[in-house]
C-alpha cells in the first residue's frame, strides 16, 4: 500500500514544476501575437456568419417564391381556364340539347341553329381543354367519358331524330324527346365530376399558395431578425475586440506622450492592436533609453560647464593674484632701486648708476605688463550689463583721454555719423582709444589724420579706422592681434603691445570681428564689426 505524500520529493521536483508552469504562463510576444485573432479575421468571421444567414434566407425565399409562382401559374393558367372551358363545354352541350329539342318539337329548321353552333362550340372547347388537362389525368378521364357519352347521344339519338324529322317534315312526338333527355343526362355526370375535381384542385392549389406566401413572410421576418442579431453581435464583438482595446491603447499612448515614460502599455486586444501596443512599448523603452542617455550627456555637459566656470574663476583669481601679489615685490624692487639712486647717486661709479637705472626700468616695464594683462583679463567679466551706447560719445571720451597725445602730434580726427551699439561704455571707449592711440603712435612724417567711419552691413555695423601713418605689412595682419606681440623696437615705440589684442577681445566679446585691411596702402586701416542693436532692427523694419 502506498501512502499518498504530495510533498514527498517536492524539494527535488518543485523547481522543475515551477519553471514548467511559468514557462507555460509566459508566452513570448510572437506566440502571443500569433494566437490572437487579427481584427480582419474578426470582421471576416462576422461577415461570413452574416453571409451564411443571408444565403440561407435567399435559398428559402427563392424556393418559396418558386412554389408560389408555380402554384399561381397552375391556378391562373391551368385550373381556372380548364374550369372555364369545362363550363363552356357544358353550355355548348345544353345549347345543342335545347336546339335539338326545339327542332324536334317544331319541325322547323331555324330551331336547329343552337344545335349546330353548340356542336361547333363543343369542338372549340374540347380543343382548348386538351392541352390544359395534360397535368390533370383525372379530369382528362372524366372528359373522355363525357365525350364518349356525347358521341353516343349524338349517334344514337340526335342524328337519327334529326334525320327522321327532316325526312317526314313533321315534329316528333314528346315520348321520344323524353328518351333523348334521359340519354343527355348521362353526359352531365362526368362533366359534373370534372368540374368538381377541378374545383378541388383549385382549392388545394390556393391553400398551397397561401402556405408558400406564409413561408416567404416567415423567411423575411427571420431574415430581418437574423440580420439585426448578426449586426448587434458584430457590433458587440467589434467593441470588445477593437474599440475597447484601441481606446485603452490610446489612453496609454496619451499618458506616455504626456511624459510618463515609465507607464507600461497594456498589449491586450486583437492582433493589430497588440502589435501596435508592443511597438508603442518598444518606442517608449527606446525613448526612455535615449532620454537617459541625453540626461547623462546633459549631466556630463553640466559638469563640464561647472569645470569651465571653476577654471574661469581660477583664471580670474590668477589674474587678480598676478596683479596684486606680483605687484607688491615688484614695487619693492623698483622703489628701493629708486631710493638707492636718490640717496647714493654720484657716490657709486657711473656703471652702478646704469645698473640701477636698468633695474628700475625693468621693474616698471613689468609693472606695465601686469597692469595691461589685468585689464585684458577683465574684458568680458560683465561687471555691468551692456546698454545702448553712443559710439560718438565713446569716441569723444577717447579723444579726451588722448588730449595730450593729440595735441602733441597735431593730429586731425575726422568722423562721420556713428551709430549706437549695445556695449559697455568704458570698453567701447577703450576700443576707440587704443585704435586712435595706435594711429598716433605709428605716424609718418605728416601730422596724423585719422578717419573713423561706420556703415550698415546686413546685421552688423562696419566701422573703419584709417590713418596716414607708417602702415603694417600684410604678413603681420594676424600677428598684431596677439597679446604682447610687437613689430617694433621698444626704444622706437613705447608700449607693451596689448592695444590691438585688447581691441580684438572687446570686439569679439560683443560678437564682432576685427581685421587689418591689407588693401589699404596710405597707412593702416582697421575694420571691425559690431552687431546692430535689436532696437535699431525694429526701426529698420518699420522703414
Amino acid at each position: 500500500m502506498t501512502i499518498d505524500r504530495p510533498s514527498s520529493g517536492g524539494s527535488g521536483r518543485a523547481p522543475t514544476g515551477v519553471s514548467g508552469a511559468t514557462g507555460r504562463r509566459i508566452k513570448t510576444s510572437a506566440e502571443d501575437a500569433a494566437s490572437r485573432w487579427p481584427l480582419g479575421r474578426i470582421i471576416a468571421a462576422g461577415m461570413l456568419a452574416l453571409g451564411v444567414v443571408l444565403v440561407a434566407a435567399i435559398v428559402v425565399a427563392a424556393i418559396a417564391l418558386s412554389d408560389l409562382g408555380s402554384d399561381r401559374n397552375r391556378v391562373v393558367n391551368t385550373l381556372d381556364p380548364a374550369a372555364f372551358h369545362g363550363s363552356q363545354l357544358y353550355a355548348a352541350m345544353l345549347n345543342q340539347e335545347t336546339g335539338l329539342r326545339g327542332y324536334l318539337l317544331s319541325g322547323q329548321r331555324p330551331f336547329l341553329v343552337p344545335y349546330t353552333s353548340g356542336a361547333a362550340q363543343q369542338r372549340t372547347q374540347v380543343k382548348a381543354l386538351q392541352p390544359l388537362l395534360a397535368s390533370l389525368p383525372a379530369a382528362r378521364a372524366d372528359l373522355s367519358v363525357a365525350l364518349r357519352r356525347i358521341d353516343i347521344w349524338r349517334s344514337t339519338y340526335a342524328l337519327p331524330a334529326i334525320g327522321r324529322v327532316a325526312a317526314s317534315g313533321k315534329p316528333m312526338p314528346g315520348g321520344n324527346i323524353a328518351t333523348g333527355k334521359l340519354e343527355f343526362n348521362y353526359i352531365r355526370g362526368p362533366i359534373g365530376s370534372f368540374q368538381a375535381y377541378l374545383s378541388a384542385q383549385r382549392k388545394q392549389a390556393v391553400s398551397q399558395l397561401r402556405a408558400s406566401a406564409d413561408v416567404l413572410d416567415i423567411t423575411a421576418i427571420a431574415c430581418a431578425v437574423a440580420l439585426v442579431l448578426v449586426v448587434v453581435a458584430l457590433g458587440i464583438a467589434l467593441r470588445a475586440a477593437a474599440i475597447r482595446p484601441l481606446t485603452r491603447l490610446a489612453g496609454d499612448a496619451r499618458q506616455v506622450a504626456s511624459g510618463d515614460f515609465d507607464h507600461e502599455v497594456d498589449p491586450s486586444g486583437p492582433r493589430e492592436v497588440h502589435t501596435l501596443a508592443v511597438d508603442v512599448n518598444q518606442m517608449r523603452r527606446r525613448i526612455l533609453r535615449e532620454l537617459s542617455a541625453v540626461r547623462a550627456g546633459n549631466t556630463a555637459l553640466e559638469a563640464r560647464a561647472r569645470d569651465l566656470e571653476r577654471s574661469n574663476a581660477e583664471l580670474e583669481q590668477f589674474a587678480y593674484v598676478a596683479s596684486h601679489d606680483l605687484q607688491e615685490p615688484l614695487r619693492k624692487v623698483a622703489s628701493f632701486c629708486q631710493l638707492l639712486q636718490r640717496r647714493y647717486i654720484g657716490q657709486l661709479d657711473a656703471r652702478a648708476d646704469q645698473y640701477i637705472e636698468f633695474a628700475v626700468d625693468g621693474a616698471k616695464r613689468m609693472q606695465a605688463l601686469i597692469d595691461d594683462l589685468l585689464a585684458f583679463s577683465r574684458v568680458g567679466r560683465a561687471e555691468r550689463a551692456p546698454t545702448l551706447v553712443s559710439c560718438a560719445k565713446a569716441l569723444s571720451q577717447a579723444r579726451v583721454n588722448l588730449t595730450n597725445e593729440i595735441k602733441k602730434s597735431g593730429a586731425v580726427i575726422e568722423t562721420t555719423d556713428l551709430p549706437s551699439v549695445n556695449a559697455e561704455f568704458t570698453l567701447l571707449t577703450s576700443l576707440f582709444q587704443n585704435l586712435i592711440s595706435n594711429a598716433l603712435k605709428f605716424r609718418g612724417e605728416q601730422p596724423p589724420i585719422v578717419r573713423i567711419t561706420a556703415g550698415r552691413r546686413e546685421d552688423d555695423w562696419l566701422f573703419s579706422v584709417a590713418d596716414n601713418g607708417i602702415g603694417i605689412e600684410p604678413e603681420f595682419a594676424d600677428r598684431i592681434f596677439v597679446i604682447f606681440q610687437r613689430l617694433h623696437d621698444r626704444t622706437q615705440y613705447a608700449g607693451t603691445g596689448i592695444g590691438l589684442s585688447m581691441c580684438r577681445k572687446i570686439v569679439e566679446h560683443y560678437g564682432g570681428r576685427i581685421w587689418l585691411d591689407t588693401e589699404y596702402h596710405e597707412g593702416a586701416k582697421f575694420d571691425f564689426t559690431l552687431p546692430v542693436a535689436p532696437s535699431d532692427y525694429e526701426e529698420a523694419s518699420h522703414d
Binding site: 587678480y320 596683479s323 596684486h324 601679489d325 605687484q327 607688491e328 615688484l330 614695487r331 619693492k332 623698483a334 622703489s335 628701493f336 629708486q338 631710493l339 636718490r342 621693474a363 616698471k364 609693472q367 597692469d371 589685468l374 561687471e383
Partner: protein, 150 residues
C-alpha cells in the same frame, strides 16, 4: 601727542605688514619732514588691540589718522575697517586705505565700509613719496580732524 607751535599734532597709525613699505613710509615722512608721530602695527589683530588699547598697547595714544593696507595677515584690512567703523569709539577716526590693489571690488568695498579715501600705492618711489606728502597736506595740515578738538 606732540606739541608744536600751539597746534596739537595728531598721531598716525600705519597698519602695514611689509617692512619695505614701512621703511618707505618712514622715508617719505622724513623727506617731507612730517612732524607727526608714526606708529606701526603688522596685522589686523594688532591694529584692533592698538586702537582699543588692550594688552601691550595699553599706554598707546588714540591715533588721529589711520593708514590701512588691505593685504594683511590674520585679519585683512577690510575686516579691520568693518570692525572699527562698527565701533562708536573708533568710527570717527579717518581711514585712508593705502594699498597696491587696483581691483574695482576692493575700491568699492572699502568705500562702502566708510573708508575716507582709497589710494593705490604708486609703483614709482618718487610718486609714492608725493602721495605721502599729499596725505600730509590734506589730512594732517589742511583739514580739521575730530581728534584735534579735544
Amino acid at each position: 601727542m606732540t606739541e608744536t607751535g600751539g597746534l596739537e599734532l595728531v598721531d598716525v597709525l600705519l597698519v602695514e605688514d611689509d617692512p619695505g613699505d614701512v621703511l618707505m613710509t618712514r622715508e617719505a615722512f622724513e623727506h617731507y619732514r612730517i612732524p607727526n608721530s608714526l606708529y606701526v602695527v603688522g596685522d589686523g589683530e594688532q591694529a584692533m588691540h592698538f586702537l582699543r588699547k588692550t594688552g601691550e598697547y595699553a599706554e598707546m595714544p588714540t591715533p588721529g589718522l589711520i593708514l590701512l593696507d588691505l593685504n594683511l595677515p590674520r585679519r585683512n584690512g577690510l575686516e579691520v575697517l568693518a570692525e572699527l567703523k562698527a565701533d562708536s569709539e573708533l568710527l570717527a577716526i579717518p581711514v585712508v586705505v593705502l594699498t597696491t590693489s587696483q581691483a574695482e571690488e576692493d575700491i568699492l568695498r572699502s568705500y562702502s565700509l566708510h573708508a575716507n579715501a582709497y589710494i593705490s600705492k604708486p609703483v614709482d618711489f618718487e610718486k609714492f613719496v608725493d602721495v605721502i606728502g599729499q596725505i600730509d597736506d590734506f589730512f594732517l595740515t589742511l583739514v580739521k580732524l575730530p581728534s584735534a578738538l579735544s
